[in-house]
């Protein structure tokens, strides 16, 4: 696991998200109303909608394209929909958000 700084906590809007470009693809960094942060691939399992633009509430993000709901801890779509999106670890140090990416073999 390799950790990368992403920016300050207050750059991610409460109840919404931002995206980051990484070697592992676009990743959505999402923040719920209580300030908890989550990171998932920025591609909805339905038809690839950008999850960074959806509503976040509790542990759920609502995809902006067709309203699928995705659990941010497991990455699983909530029933009755099926599918899943990869999740990534985040940590904060002070005001800074760090993203954990699997080590790249080169």
């Amino acid at each position: 696991m390799e950790w990368f700084p992403l920016g300050r906590i207050d750059e991610v809007p409460l109840g919404g998200g931002r995206y980051v470009e990484t070697p592992a693809g676009q990743i959505a960094v999402l923040c719920n109303e209580a300030g908890e942060l989550f990171a998932v691939h920025n591609r909805c399992p339905h038809r690839g909608g950008p999850l960074s633009e959806g509503f976040v509430s509790g542990k759920t993000v609502f995809c902006p394209l067709h309203n699928w709901q995705i659990d941010l801890e497991s990455g699983q779509a909530l029933p009755p929909d099926q599918g899943c999106v990869k999740t990534f670890p985040l940590k904060t140090e002070g005001e800074e958000i760090w993203l954990g990416l699997p080590e790249m073999q080169s």
């Binding site: 992403l6 991610v12 109840g15 931002r18 509430s57 309203n67």
Partner: protein, 812 residues
Amino acid sequence: MGNKTRKARLVVIGNGMAGIRTVEELLKMAPDLYEITVFGDEPHPNYNRILLTPVLAGEMRLEETILNDHDWYQEHGITLRTGCLVTQIDRVRRQVITAQGEKVPYDRVLIATGAAAALAPIPGNDLPGVYSYRDMRDVEALTQVSADGGEAVIIGAGLLGLEVAHGLNARGMQVTVVHRRAWPLDKQLDARGGALLRQAIEARGIRFLMERESAAVLGTDRVEGLQFQDGSQIPAQIVVMTVGIRPRIALAQAAGLACEQGILVSDTLQTYDPRIYAVGECVQHRGMTYGLVAPLFEQAKVAANHLAEYGRMRYQGSVTSTKLKVTGIELFSAGDFLGGEGTEELTLLDAHQGIYKKVVLQGDTITGILLYGDTSIGPWLFEYLRDKNNVASLRDHLLFGETHLGDAGHAGVNQAARLADSAEICGCNGVSKGQIVRAIRDGLFTLEEVRKCTKASASCGSCTGLVEQLLVSTLGGVYDSSARKKALCGCTDYSHQEVRDAIRKEKLLSVRDVFRYLDWRHPGGCATCRPAVNYYVRTAWPAESKDDPSARFINERAHANIQKDGTYSVVPRIYGGVTTPAELKRIAEVAERHAVPMVKFTGGQRLDLLGVRKEKLPLIWAELDMPSGYAYGKALRTVKSCVGKEFCRFGVQDSTQLAIDLEKNLERMWAPHKVKLGASGCPRNCAESTIKDVGVIGVDSGWEIYVGGNGGMKVRAADLLAKVKTEAEVIQISKAFLQMYREDAQYLERTAPWVERVGLEQIKSRVIDDLAQRVELAERLDFAIAQEKDPWAEAVSGRLDIHAAPLRRVSA
């Protein structure tokens, strides 16, 4: 209260439909508040009583009617005591006592003892072979005895009487139904409908004896027949009495709780003793007792809300409708369908096809509905009845339902029941009728639940009507289609109107404040309530409140339309569809410089640059240097124009200029849904003004103003609101109309359904007849628009951050 180690104890007496529904609602709101014990004197976990007849008729098995199995109770930590009758509530020691002598202490009690079948007070009513029809035990007994065939006599031709007649007939018995009135179901049908029903039932081999008063059950060791007051007799091996139900109140009475017909409860479902709540058929609220589950479920919601210590909801009584659930017979009735003094009747009778429809009107509102043979429009009519909405403009098709339903998936709205199981109901999610019906049978009762479980109508929502139809035809009277009273979304029990009232009354200035003040179930809300509540806050307090971008859909947050691949489209404002060569050149250059994948004329007379990446939006806006066209917003979109009298040989008014003026006056206006206007220079109407939210048409003497038109999913021609002389009047009236719409319509309700709901008369009286109100409304709109700035200019200047760029680019 102090003692934190012990949870409060809730004892539920009655393991039936209302009691357990209350527990379910309670668990949703406060899963850990109580240690719950449920007593039921039946041996089963909670089952669906209204499915007893399918079980009796052999169409269903007992197990299929179970709503909550033993595992459910266990999972929720509920102690269930089946086969256990509670005989006493000791209010002094705060304990309930069972027939076995067991004592269980309580902090709160919920009485949900339901009702018992009443017996006809005639000699012999206790003979073996006399049955009632209320619970699974009755069904088991009747199943057994009917195996030998023979003659069954049913006393009472009400809903239950006809159901049990149908069940026993299906089991091969000879069935005779005896009734004191002249036709069956006299509480649900008039004489004409009764005659049709009788015919249909007789055709199945069931016999009726009408206007007969029973005098005695005959027999020595067991039933042998029934004797009437006129002395005549008929033979019978069994007699089933379905002459009414009696609320089970003995327990409450003995505990000193005030009772009349039922246990008296307040609007919070509390009895005389505030620790003791009661719901279901055993209660009497504002003088009414109910015998259908829809109102009981409403009671359950309110009682749970108070048990959960939210303490906000009030139960104010219910308006109910009934359906008969005998396969092949369709019947729907509600309200005062007999009519009489001061009422009018619209009727349609097709005796040959067995169809009879009757709508009773008092003035311009529906007060009674009776449908026989074809009940498809029942729910549609019922909504008008319950909400007391004005139906003057619908009079012509009240008996036929919503007509002109086109091909785009709306055709079936009134025909769901006749579709094949494989028919697709929800086009968005590919859900068939069969799937939905199966899911409902497995224990769903509301639209919300069907959406959650099957996805049907969860996306664009245009098939909501069909799904509601299926709920009604599958559940009978259980389903309550209370659209208006419906909660805003799953996060709250409050309706749109209740939320708006609270925002105004309590001066709530942000979405968060509203969620907090109204105890939202999820503090973050959902995709339905966040934008709606934000809109309500903004319209109520345009100056004091702040817009909340996190409560806006992506389109309104990015000020551009998101596309299927995550890119965006850019539609600048082109007032009235009129542009200049210079402007066109600039647009062309921008498109070329940024290699915009497609440039397209929209259906709204302007240009669309499609396929733009989010990162590029601010730059493109800066280079275009034009205001946003709000093509993405629940807001003013376009004002379409035609050539008008400046150039056109037929034109009598300057529609182009008026369109430009209207657009300049209304731009940046947010609304419950998108708003489109049109201005045509003569009645040839080239700007299609009659399918616009507001449309004007030039005539010799001035302008005609039309409102409530729609050209989208369901076409609706606009209604003529007024005829005026000057452009200034057009602008003022348009503003007043739109402000009334902004203040009154539900979020995502376009003007077309809104105009139908409130009625043109009401709109005229505020916007046309009352000049002072018109001025005030227009001023309020001007004030609201004055608070808004062009979002593209704001973004270009850096005052508005649409988060165009990624938060970070991480390189390996």
